[in-house]
Point group: C2
Chain length 213, copies 2
């Protein structure tokens, strides 16, 4: 399966390397290919391209940019290049403000998540919230003593969620499907919670697990 | 240690029984003692009283009422009866609206949690957010195959958090201290996430765990 990634920061690079490890064909979309020279040298089988080229290349598309430029990045990628495809949304609606006692500010409200805003603007893409509440260090095949961590996902398209669940299986995660896009209102704030130990104690390698039985 | 509970619903009854089990003296504060006849019969060592009597009785006070009447309940309890005491805040800012695809509405914003609002109105009480993201079935000495669940707490007073941590140890929880009161902005929405499997699949017995190592 071909994966196009929109974004070229640490999260995008980490996920791209994870997809390569698991046998996917990968194109990383960036505005600045020079920035990716070192990453490309370590991952020679990856393609580089523009946001639009990466989106067109992917049978599934990963969005991994800062939340406040997410809509702009998708516009550059082009709605036609996203239509009908699973869109793995790893973004968080973090406002441009310093954390307060380790707590980030969001530019959204409890009643209108970033993913819902993006889904509304790009109705033909099949958004799935995923990879928004874990750091790059533990995104791909993380190991913890108490077992697999849980990735909370949501989205309106069952087929896209099935694709994402298969990817999460390969990436070593348990998947907790929280339902439709509105659940992003509850999943996005996990990012705020996850970041607190980071800002307070420089702990960036933890993850959440849902205990059921 | 004496515990006064403000509220008499399922959460208050469950926590009160847990405190009795662990050797605390307990007074349950209610507006309607008749409602508690059955509970009192099963827990004859518990005292019943008004909100003010329960708050005055407790060396620590538990607030377990609907979030939209939390401030009103504390006013009835009386600020003087709360001053200088750990105040275990188990409330959530759930709005009077039906869930949307299993997702509750909150009457707060990402920048102003319920606990911060209450702390602001009752500055002499030492609020600690706790017990807001688990159901009554698993509040007291829960057992899960993957080990102890994690309770995320926060508050401005270190002594109050130490008291709560000791209680959580007895109640069978790992404690994750997320820092000052602002962290309630990230802990309260765990309630939204926790309730989704309940509304969608009638699953009300799960809990969260923080994986660190």
């Amino acid at each position: 399966m071909k994966i196009g990634l929109i974004g070229s920061g640490t999260v995008a690079q980490t996920l791209a390397a994870g997809f390569l490890k698991h046998g996917y064909e990968v194109m990383l979309g960036t505005r600045d290919t020079a920035r990716l020279a070192a990453w490309q040298a370590s991952n020679p089988e990856a393609r580089l391209g523009s946001f639009a080229q990466a989106a067109a290349f992917g049978e599934a598309v990963v969005l991994a940019v800062k939340g406040n430029v997410a809509a702009q990045a998708l516009r550059a990628a082009g709605a036609d290049n996203l239509a009908g495809k699973p869109l793995l949304d790893a973004c968080n609606p973090i406002a441009d403000a310093p954390p307060v006692n380790g707590v980030l500010s969001f530019f959204t409200t409890y009643g209108d998540s970033l993913m819902e805003q993006l889904q509304c603007e790009f109705p033909q893409a099949h958004f799935v919230k995923v990879f928004n509440s874990v750091g790059a260090a533990r995104m791909v095949n993380p190991e913890f003593k108490a077992g697999k961590p849980t990735m909370f996902i949501c989205g309106n398209d069952a087929g896209a969620k099935a694709t994402v669940t298969k990817i999460l299986d390969q990436f070593g995660w348990e998947t907790a499907d929280m339902g439709a896009a509105e659940a992003a209102r509850a999943i996005e704030p996990l990012c705020m919670l996850w970041c607190i130990p980071g800002f307070q104690r420089n702990l960036w390698t933890h993850a959440f697990k849902l205990l059921i039985e």
